[in-house]
Symmetry: C2
Subunit: 261 residues, 2 copies
């Protein structure tokens, strides 16, 4: 048995989310099916995988990291090629590596970076409708840029976490948070040590309210204090969200036992 | 009755093509349904539309032109807004204009410009898979650039026309034809006075064979002479094709009776 990690990008449109669920196809189930086929396992056996974190239905990824033990030795390049030839076109492995036995895709992660793309045109764009949230209102980026600063640092993010969470410690540290305008899109970027269930989508939903002038610029400061999900803005649709990068103290995809597209 | 023209962009992925067909939803049927709703017509009445030309299943448009008579006076901006609020997200009207009675979306057109996008990466890109043809082979752009010159001018394009065509005159004039590389995509552009059924898709299928070294650089010259569809390359998948622009001696969308997004 050897431990491998792959870096995966996907269009989440046609999936119930990253994680295996009974109600439809998931990214994880597609990867596990591909591994089962590669390893020629019988139908009742499969290779369990560990993702760095879940993504919701419709949410995309450019750098999800997935780990598993494979029953044979295989060169990372061959692993990448074999998986990509089996996986559907909306999932692509862009790096593969042999990793140490103590590497853990989730627990070894020290940071995660997410992006959220908002299309600010009057009418939805047929070609980016699946890859950005459509928000046709006059929205002031300077208000959002001022507001987003309040979340940088270590805070209890109860107000920005779905009440369906199974976590009890809702304290997280945000290292960087920014919003820029690249016509016609607002691009939000968040880097932190971890993110709660729906956290970025609720943050973006609230930031857009601030940009629209519906909420004051210091609204996020107030919300961090009140610790009540009901006080925050709506959960923005997941189609604008991308898991961009998972950080590890040692990048598993830059060593000699790695292959990158 | 007033005559209007609209300029329409669409993601053709979920449609059987531009034109109404019994086997599924078309762009035209969506537009006619929207007009019927706007004009509050009874179910058995509809507003017939004329498109500048058909596009096949999966083919996209940035500048399809559609014309119709509307039973009430309506400002172009209001027409555009009303249609966009009814149409699905994969179809967007980006210009609307009042046009003279003798304007005809098809017969008044003096040129058409098409683009074909080819992704030359090793594995399909999850985010552009619906909007480009995936061609993972080592493909020499200089060979294609040399080859594409042969089709500029007036020729009989029988070799590059589906045998299912209902046309008898297969002579067309190509004003401009080019291929450029914008990593990782080859971008083919064709401007002509008209194009035959599957013509661009067969041209691209053949040009890629030339780029791959499977056919000689002067292959298009030979194919223009032999006038036999079976001698040309395969019909490239429509997902890389875009109807970009329809030219008229007077641009209907630049006058005072026009509104552009």
């Amino acid at each position: 048995m050897q431990s491998y990690a792959i870096r995966v990008e996907y269009d989440g449109t046609n999936y119930v989310g990253y994680q295996v669920q009974p109600n439809g196809p998931s990214i994880q189930s597609q990867i596990e099916k591909a591994l089962q086929l590669m390893a020629k396992l019988p139908k009742d056996q499969f290779i369990p995988t560990i993702g760095s974190g879940r993504t919701d239905s419709g949410v995309h990824a450019k750098g999800q990291v997935v780990q598993f033990d494979y029953p044979a030795e295989i060169r990372p390049e061959n692993l990448l090629r074999a998986l990509n030839s089996i996986l559907p076109d909306d999932i692509r492995v862009n790096a593969a590596a042999l990793v140490a036995e103590d590497f853990h895709a989730r627990y070894s992660a020290i940071s995660k970076t997410y992006r959220f793309v908002v299309n600010n045109e009057r009418f939805p764009d047929p070609f980016t409708r699946l890859y950005s949230l459509h928000h046709p209102y006059r929205c002031d980026i300077e208000r959002m840029q001022e507001a987003i600063e309040f979340i940088v640092g270590t805070h209890d993010f109860t107000s920005f976490c779905s009440t369906k969470t199974d976590k009890t410690n809702l304290v997280r540290t945000i290292y960087e948070a920014s919003v820029t305008y690249d016509a016609p899109h607002f691009i939000f970027e968040f880097k932190g040590n971890g993110f709660l269930y729906n956290m970025i989508r609720i943050l973006v939903g609230t930031l857009l309210q601030i940009g629209d002038g519906l909420k004051p610029v210091d609204e996020l400061e107030r919300l961090l204090k009140v610790m009540d999900r009901n006080e925050a803005g709506p959960t923005a649709n997941g189609n604008g969200l991308y898991m961009m990068e998972v950080g590890y103290s040692e990048d598993p995809f830059s060593g000699p036992d790695a292959y990158t597209l």
